[in-house]
């Protein structure tokens, strides 16, 4: 078992996503409590006190983000739920949307109450079919039950929710790209300043939170910040949903209490590496986080601070397990093809850098690499560090540099011998 659970607390059945089942589990009581007993500022204070960090990748303190929106500035505010789960290897928000859509909706209403929102948005990944239908169904139910619209639960609080389906672009999962996309424009991320909490959607103060982040709010309000802080570690309270895939015996979505031992999670909870092979590397939080080796993770606990200290990040919680025998050159090629394809093309370093990286790695895989290619790729990655409009350029650079640094000999081998040391395979057999 992976410690205390806050989200995956019920057995999934054919009806567990319905309003009736959610209410039977105590649903919408947190919203009732917030509206009846708390002022909006109290809700924000409670979230600040809980120490909840964003679950989308940057782990920014949620309460502090909310507190930057001034309640009395006389402007409309907007809340956007980022359900554009597009980080490769990540599929944990999907679990919430499919199985606990009301948990998300209740939490969104509490957040809307806290930051003075009349219209909130859910930007949902276009490829999501069942999650979209489940969410749309849940919104229908919630409107009928009076949890959305005007005079919610008999109070003066009113809030509507609008679902916007994405069209498959990766950068629309970046908060400002998402907002631009909702506005009906091409999903280009925006420069900061101004921050989105100053000028976001339609130039108004806007909070963008990830699905999992928001899903924690109902629990924090229902049971209090102290109860939330008892779970997880001091610096990273709560739990994380981890979606694990790759060369692992039991892939899927797991909820772990933050601070849970990394190696034990892989060995015991996920059943070890496919085919009993040794672990070669692990991408801990979506491909944009730096790859870790078995030696790196052996002493590690799964929490934000520990992974940061190890030079990586829990990121979006999309874990990709890589068994011994996998060709890292080919792996990097797949990653860079993705980044090249998904670069929005707005700013110079990412627009031209991603294509350049992709062409170099294609050449290495084709057996036409030259020794200086490794330095060239590192230089391109470095030139993307902190120079791009959004985080995608940096992230692609970090991921590339980490793989090049930790598996440099494999790249040198591929360049010198014009072929992969591992026959260029990404698949490993289930039977050793």
């Amino acid at each position: 078992m992976t410690g205390t659970k806050l989200l995956m607390t019920f057995p999934v059945t054919a009806t567990s996503h319905s309003l009736a089942d959610y209410r039977a589990r105590g649903g919408y009581r947190a919203l009732e409590k917030a509206l009846a007993q708390m002022k909006p500022q109290d809700v924000t204070h409670e979230v600040i006190a809980s120490g909840l960090q964003g679950r989308g990748g940057a782990a920014f303190p949620v309460g502090r983000k909310w507190a930057t929106v001034k309640l009395d500035d006389g402007q409309p505010h907007y809340l956007c739920c980022n359900a554009d789960e597009g980080e490769p290897g990540t599929f944990k928000d999907r679990w919430i949307l499919e199985h606990a859509p009301h948990l998300l909706l209740e939490s969104m209403q509490i957040a809307a109450y806290a930051i003075g929102v009349r219209h909130s948005f859910v930007y949902i990944r276009g490829e999501f079919d069942l999650p979209y239908r489940r969410l749309a169904g849940a919104i229908e139910e919630a409107y009928q039950a009076g949890y959305f619209g005007e005079r919610i639960l008999g109070t003066d609080f009113a809030c509507d929710v609008i679902v916007y389906r994405g069209a498959g672009s990766y950068v629309c999962g970046e908060a400002s790209g998402l907002i631009t996309s909702i506005e009906g424009k091409k999903g280009y991320p925006r420069n900061r300043p101004p921050r989105l909490s100053v000028r976001g959607l339609y130039q108004r103060p806007t909070v963008v939170n990830n699905v999992e982040t928001l899903a924690n709010i109902a629990g924090i309000i229902a049971h209090g910040a102290d109860a939330f802080r008892k779970v997880g570690t001091k610096t990273s309270p709560g739990t994380r949903l981890i979606s694990i895939s790759g060369h692992i015996n039991r892939p899927g979505v797991y909820e772990i209490e933050l601070g849970y031992p990394f190696a034990r999670f892989l060995r015991e909870d996920c059943g070890g590496i496919l085919g009993g092979r040794p672990l070669k590397a692990i991408i801990p939080g979506g491909v944009s986080t730096k790859v870790l080796t078995p030696a790196d993770i052996e002493p590690l606990a799964l929490d934000h601070a520990a992974l940061e200290a190890a030079g990586s990040s829990l990121g979006s919680g999309g874990m990709i397990v890589i068994a011994e025998g996998t060709c890292m050159v080919h792996l990097l090629q797949v990653m860079l093809r993705f980044y090249h394809h998904e670069s929005c093309g707005q700013c110079t370093p990412c627009r031209d850098g991603m294509g350049w990286l992709h062409r170099i790695i294609d050449r290495i895989v084709a057996g036409e690499g030259v020794p200086e290619d490794i330095e060239r790729m590192q230089a391109i990655s470095r030139a993307n560090d902190g120079t791009t409009i959004c985080g995608m350029g940096d992230a692609a650079g970090y991921a590339t540099v980490a793989i090049l640094d930790k598996f440099r000999d494999e790249f040198a081998y591929a360049i010198a011998h014009k072929r992969s040391r591992f026959d260029g395979r990404l698949e490993v057999s289930g039977h050793a």
Binding site: T348, A383, G386
Partner: protein, 480 residues
């Protein structure tokens, strides 16, 4: 007013300014491609990255065009970190750029060329093939786009959204496959300001069809002038061949023709923009010229024709003058002084809107298609011309007069610069010089006075209106 320090030099900045604006206002150069003082800040070229000295948290870098000034801020534009970023950005920008400066119209006035020499100067470090894209994409009847040269700064896109409001351009596709395209067939054609995107393009991606391969810019010289196309009177630069680079072969007319017209920035009148009519001034100025003085269609020397005109003026009892609102302030004043008493003077509308021409809009274009109605009306009022029976002399200055309206028996003196059938019917026809052959001033509809300078020499056989009028007014016996 916040005081910031750029490279140690104290600079007074305005509140709400960015570091870029403060630097430009104080003559400090930070390179930029996508930033433009009149357009929004997209921050996409990333070449303006500068370093900020921060005593607390170490130095940091960010783009100057989107960096708000704060009091006491210390900005370094030429530090090692800033220069390294600049060089890296130039490497990225040039990665897929064809570097075909040898056949590029922009060469010589290309920002990318300048910055490359200034900040990089090294050959490409890439050994991979460049991304190929469309050459000579017809963006409109007037503009072709070379997508390989394009650096996707989005200035042209923002121009159509923020200035001309045609919303005609956009960016298609993603990453290094992105291309500028007109959003739907024909919408860019209707944009009367479309050619401005050629000027604001920092590279040679947007090319004027009429100027394509016409001249290397370093063989051209620019003469400040005024567009006479409407009452706005936009300041323009007329580009023509430098005398020292005169062509001795090919068509000699190339030496005295306008190669292209670009805006001359003038905040009081047109800002940095002009409309497409202003780009096509050659169509106005290079119409077939009338260069021969005539008496009832028979060629005579200019002095003889002036003499004949003077006799007509001296004899006339009821003379009417139709004054051109294309005359300069100097010419109109000279007319007023010399002939204002002898004639009943009316201001004639030389030009009126042509079919298909935009009448008036939100930006520059005015319904009055003449450059100097303001001064002409100041001297001669705004009454409609009256040509009563019994008028014995009509002086017509400039075009736009219907000669069918002439009173019976009236003699006609016609002063005009271009070939027109009526030239041969006038009792005296005097050819005039045009705006590109003289200097002068126009006053626009808002009362702003601007100057124009000569580009080409005037032929001896044509008269300058400014001196002609005094000659027409001289007593007959004085020269007899």
């Amino acid at each position: 007013m916040p005081e910031i320090f750029i490279n140690g030099r104290p600079v007074q900045a305005e509140k709400n300014q960015t570091v870029m604006q403060a630097a430009v206002a104080n003559g400090i150069s930070i390179p930029y491609f996508c930033w433009h003082p009149q357009l929004s800040v997209p921050g996409n070229c990333r070449i303006c990255i500068v370093e900020v000295e921060d005593e607390k948290g170490g130095n940091w870098t960010d783009i100057a065009c989107n960096m708000p000034v704060s009091d006491g801020m210390r900005v370094l534009t030429e530090s090692a970190a800033a220069l390294a970023h600049r060089k890296a950005m130039l490497q990225f920008i040039l990665l897929n750029h064809p570097v075909d400066c040898g056949i590029c119209d922009k060469a010589g006035e290309c920002t990318l060329q300048d910055y490359h020499y200034q900040y990089n100067g090294a050959p490409s470090v890439s050994r991979d093939a460049k991304v190929r894209a469309t050459k000579f994409h017809p963006l409109s009847e007037r503009i072709v786009l070379d997508n390989e040269r394009c650096i996707l700064c989005s200035r042209c896109v923002r121009f159509t959204h923020e200035i001309s409001k045609s919303h005609a351009l956009g960016i298609q596709a993603r990453a290094d496959h992105s291309v500028i395209r007109a959003v739907e067939d024909g919408s860019f054609e209707q944009d009367p300001y479309s050619d401005n995107v050629i000027d604001i393009c920092p590279v040679g991606a947007l090319l004027s069809r009429s100027f394509l391969y016409k001249a290397r810019v370093w063989y051209l010289k620019e003469t400040p002038s005024i567009c006479p196309g409407c009452a706005r009177g936009c300041s323009v630069k007329l580009w023509h061949r430098k005398p020292e680079w005169k062509l001795n072969v090919l068509d000699p007319r190339q030496n005295t023709s306008i190669a292209r017209v670009t805006p001359l920035e003038n905040p009081a009148v047109n800002g940095p923009w002009i409309c497409n009519k202003g780009r096509d001034l050659a169509r106005i100025f290079e119409r077939p010229r009338a260069e021969q003085a005539m008496l009832k269609g028979s060629p005579v020397e200019l002095p003889a024709a002036i003499d004949a005109a003077r006799r007509l003026v001296g004899k006339a009892k009821r003379a009417v003058a139709l004054v051109s609102n294309w005359g300069s302030n100097e010419e109109l004043a000279a007319f007023k002084v010399a002939l204002g008493e002898r004639f009943a003077c009316f201001v004639k509308q030389d030009c009126s809107p042509q079919p298909g021409e935009p009448i008036e809009d939100h930006l520059l274009i005015r319904a009055d298609k003449n450059p100097n109605t303001a001064t002409a009306r100041k001297h001669f009022g705004d009454a409609t011309p009256e040509l009563h029976e019994g008028t014995d002399l009509v002086l017509v200055w400039g075009e736009g007069f219907d000669f069918g309206r002439l009173p019976r028996g009236a003699k006609v003196i016609f002063l005009h610069a271009y070939l027109q059938p009526e030239n041969g019917h006038a009792d005296v026809f005097l050819p005039l010089s045009i705006q590109t052959e003289r200097r002068g001033h126009y006053t626009n509809f808002e009362g702003v006075v601007s100057a124009f300078e000569p580009c080409f020499p005037k032929k001896a056989s044509v008269a300058d209106a400014e001196t002609l009028f005094a000659a027409l007014a001289a007593p007959v016996e004085a020269t007899a």
